[in-house]
Amino acid sequence: MRRQVPFIIATVAGVLMLVQFFVPAHGMVRMQTVFTLYTRIIGGFAMVLGVASLMQVSWVRVKRRADNWPFALTTILGFVVMFAVGVLGGFFIHDPTTGKLTWSAGIAPDKNPVFGWLFYNVYTTMDATIFSLLAFYMASAAYRAMRARDLTAGMLLGAAMIVMLGRAPLTAYFWDMWLVKPTDHQIASLGEITEWLLTYPNTAATRALMFGTGLAALAQGVRILVGLERPYMAGTGD
């Protein structure tokens, strides 16, 4: 009951989906939609679990006045506001033509002014900004971590620099001015070299990686279906 039923459920679901891929009949397609619905619902309930965990952690920090508890409070407030506005914003949308709120479903940021404002000016701004922090880290990584310690690292470096210069119109332009034009296209342009690098050696390696990953995924799947690995047992005591 505790050990075998989950395994049976997993195997049944897995084998059914595997079979469904090859059986195009409508009944099986319908089954897939039903199963997808189940997983969506499970995910929804699990999300509650996760949010509860986050709120609990933050709340404990606030209650205990742990260090930096104001930030935990910020998290809680941010969540509460966004959630409330989001839920209401989903059910009452602001109709720009009539200018009044109407009952609806769905959660379009631009239909609810408040939610939209939070979404665009807080959510997406932070999203984009933290994303763009990567540029700085990239630079420092290039300076502090990229070392031609051996031949392999050297090749990584060389390829990276060729691509970077080839992708930079300015350098590509000067290369063309000084090398390509004078020799009447006996020397390939930097962009073409980059293209070649990407199209042949890069594709070769990528393919090998894809073969490997695909097969490894298949093997792991088989192991799960026959119960050699039972990750679903985790997280539930005994």
Partner: protein, 291 residues
């Protein structure tokens, strides 16, 4: 790291990274202070293939543009969308936009709002913004292949698709001549795998630079008809549009960024060279165990 802590090169290796950050910021900002600055972009084949394919479409054909990205990657992907919209509108090709990402539709609306006017194209007649649908891109594509209205009963602003003239020519996925998946994730692969391989609709992708290298493998197998890679790809497309389609209109975001792009690339290359030089001169790299 028990090494003698002395010597210029040694200290250079341990320079505070904040100086690097400042340099990066400056190299990116300065070019923008000279709005007149332009850099010519070399057009490569993957971008040209996209251009040629759209160029080969006839008036009245349908093109689907999937805005599968959030504003965080808009600098790379939105210029591509703008260019595709321009080329399609100029040829009279209908454009349908949809997204499996909740942040996508507003971007699509913005792009259409900016471009459509230049060619006198109207919403509903020449382009439709179908909006966002949860449940994953696989479900969306499979649904579209059967029946559009089952997935998108209404468009983004809530008009029933039955009342939209342009939707008469887009009842199911196979009515389209091209799908363009603009994505910052593997969603583009899913579009390719389903739309192209299963339903035979050609797929071109515009992806962030991160994924370009891997997508070349799909280009070679013919899974893709064309590929726009990152801001450079967008700039290439912008050049093709600006020179062949519509010189006067348009504010070429990507092309403008190219100056900063070049500067930063050169800076990074210099960083790498200098870092390695410092390692050599200081006589010892950090002995980090590695493969």
């Amino acid at each position: 790291m028990q090494q003698p802590r002395r010597g210029f090169w040694y200290s250079a290796l341990r320079i505070d990274r904040r100086y690097i950050f400042v340099l990066v910021f400056v190299s990116l900002t300065v070019p923008f202070l000279f709005p007149g600055m332009r850099v010519a972009v070399e057009v490569q084949n993957p971008a040209r293939q996209v251009y040629d394919f759209v160029d080969g479409l006839k008036e009245g054909d349908g093109v689907l543009v999937a805005f599968e990205y959030s504003p965080s990657t808009a600098p790379e992907l939105t210029p591509m969308a703008t260019c595709i919209a321009r080329q399609c509108f100029q040829k009279g090709v209908r454009v349908y936009a949809l997204s499996s990402a909740p942040e996508g539709p507003p971007i699509a609306a913005e792009v259409f709002r900016r471009v459509a006017g230049d060619y006198g194209r109207t919403e509903g007649e020449d382009y439709v913004n179908l909006g966002y649908k949860p449940g994953g891109v696989q479900a969306i594509v499979l649904g579209l292949a059967q029946n559009v209205s089952s997935v998108f009963p209404t468009d983004y602003v809530g008009t029933a698709v039955a009342d939209i003239p342009a939707m008469r020519y887009f009842k199911k996925l196979s009515d389209l001549k091209l799908c363009v998946a603009l994505s910052a994730s593997t969603v583009a692969e899913t579009w390719m795998g389903l739309a192209s391989a299963r339903f035979g609709v050609p797929v071109a992708t515009g992806v962030t630079g991160v994924m370009v290298a891997n997508f070349y493998a799909y280009l070679d197998t013919g899974q893709l008809v064309g590929l726009l890679g990152g801001m450079k790809g967008a700039a290439e497309y912008e050049r093709l549009i600006a020179e062949n389609v519509d010189p006067e209109h348009g504010y070429w975001f990507a092309t403008r960024g190219m100056a900063s792009q070049s500067a930063s690339h050169v800076l990074i290359v210099l960083f790498v060279l200098f870092g390695n030089l410092a390692m050599v001169m200081s006589g010892r790299g950090q002995r980090r165990r590695r493969r």
